[in-house]
Structures are given as C-alpha cells and as structure tokens.
Amino acid sequence: GAGVSQSPRYKVAKRGQDVALRCDPISGHVSLFWYQQALGQGPEFLTYFQNEAQLDKSGLPSDRFFAERPEGSVSTLKIQRTQQEDSAVYLCASRGDTGREEKLFFGSGTQLSVL
C-alpha cells in the first residue's frame, strides 16, 4: 500500500480480554516498530523487527505483551489479559533499510480502551 496501515482504528476491550492489533507496513520495508502512546504523552518504544527477527523487545511493559512478524511483512501486537493501564494509542512505523536511513513512516494507530 501507499502508507502504513493499522487495524482496527479503535478497539474497546473488557478487562481481562485478549486483543490483537495489526500493522501492514509499507511494502518492502525491512524495519518495523511498535510504539505505545498514553493520553497526553509522547510515544514510547515497545519493540523493533528487522524482517521477521525481533531484535529488540526491551520496551514491552510486561509478559502480557507479545509481538510477531512471521513473514517479515505484516506484524501483530498481542496483549493478553488486558488491564486498564494498557489503554493507549498503539502506533506502528516502518523504515526502508537497516542502515542510517532515519525516516520512519507512521500509521494512524489503534486506540485501545480497556474498560
């Protein structure tokens, strides 16, 4: 596609439910990132993929958060047993290569509300 696509745009979950958030990066982009943006805050890094390899997951807040990119394109961020503090916008971004190309292309995010 022309840009980074995320779905769903909005997700409401009851506390304790599992959710899955999808990211379609720009075609051919090697690097993919997930960020979490709490209300009124800047985005915070969650995890990074280079193709299908998850090279950094240091930002994942707990073992309830899991991300995958099995074929090196589409990625899914899964949150198990959601809690109210998980309510945030989840942004996905992709980048073309693994060198010093620094420009990230962001999607419009998924807004997760946990009730």
């Binding site: 690097s31 800047g42 620094e102 990230l104 419009s108 995010g109 807004q111």
Partner: protein, 117 residues
C-alpha cells in the same frame, strides 16, 4: 539513556505570526539525529524537520526552521507565517545511531500548538 524535554505543554499563536517551540535533550552520544514531528487529530506522526548532530548548519524546510545548539543540547522549532493547518501536537524526538542503537526514537511529551484566526 536519552531524555527529551519539552517544557511548553501548550502554546498559541495568531495566524501569519511566528512561534518557537522549545526542546532540550540529554545524551552522552556523539552521533545522533533530532526531529520534530507533527501529530494532528488523525494521530499519524508526520515528520516536519530533522537535524543531523554533526552538521552545524541549522535545518530549514519552507516555513519551518530549527535552532540547534549542540553544546547546550537545545533544539527549538520556529514556525514562520503560521497557518491554521499547523494546529497540532508537536513532538521533539531523538535518535542515536551509534553502538547499534540506530533505530529507537525517544520522544518528548509534546507541545499542543493552536493557531488562531
């Protein structure tokens, strides 16, 4: 660890006037980029301008320019001839490219800019 501080939670400016958004950062790295991103209500992060730390010349992009003071670790954004479409959240961000960490963006908390007609 790097930190990015935006001390102005909100700012407003009249259409056609000039406004400056402040940003300071803290790092021990020598090789890095600095960015300003715009986030409208659509939530999509849009790159406004970037600065490579080894370049002394301040970056400019049309109505947008920066004042990069490396020694002071300061990176302010100036918007000239403000337009109604500039109304958005603005985030300052840092990215190191040394030691293999050439991918993480560290963001500030943002400044909400409102351009008034």
């Amino acid at each position: 660890a790097q930190t990015v501080t935006q001390s102005q939670p909100e700012m407003s400016v009249q259409e056609a006037e000039t406004v400056t958004l402040s940003c300071t950062y803290d790092t021990s790295e020598n090789n890095y980029y600095l960015f300003w991103y715009k986030q409208p209500p659509s939530r999509q992060m849009i790159l406004v301008i970037r600065q490579e730390a080894y370049k002394q010349q301040n970056a400019t992009e049309n109505r947008f320019s920066v004042n990069f003071q490396k020694a002071a670790k300061s990176f302010s954004l100036k918007i000239s001839d403000s337009q109604l479409g500039d109304t958005a959240m603005y985030f300052c961000a840092f990215m190191s490219y040394s030691g293999g960490s050439n991918y993480k963006l560290t963001f500030g908390k943002g400044t909400l800019l409102t351009v008034n007609p």
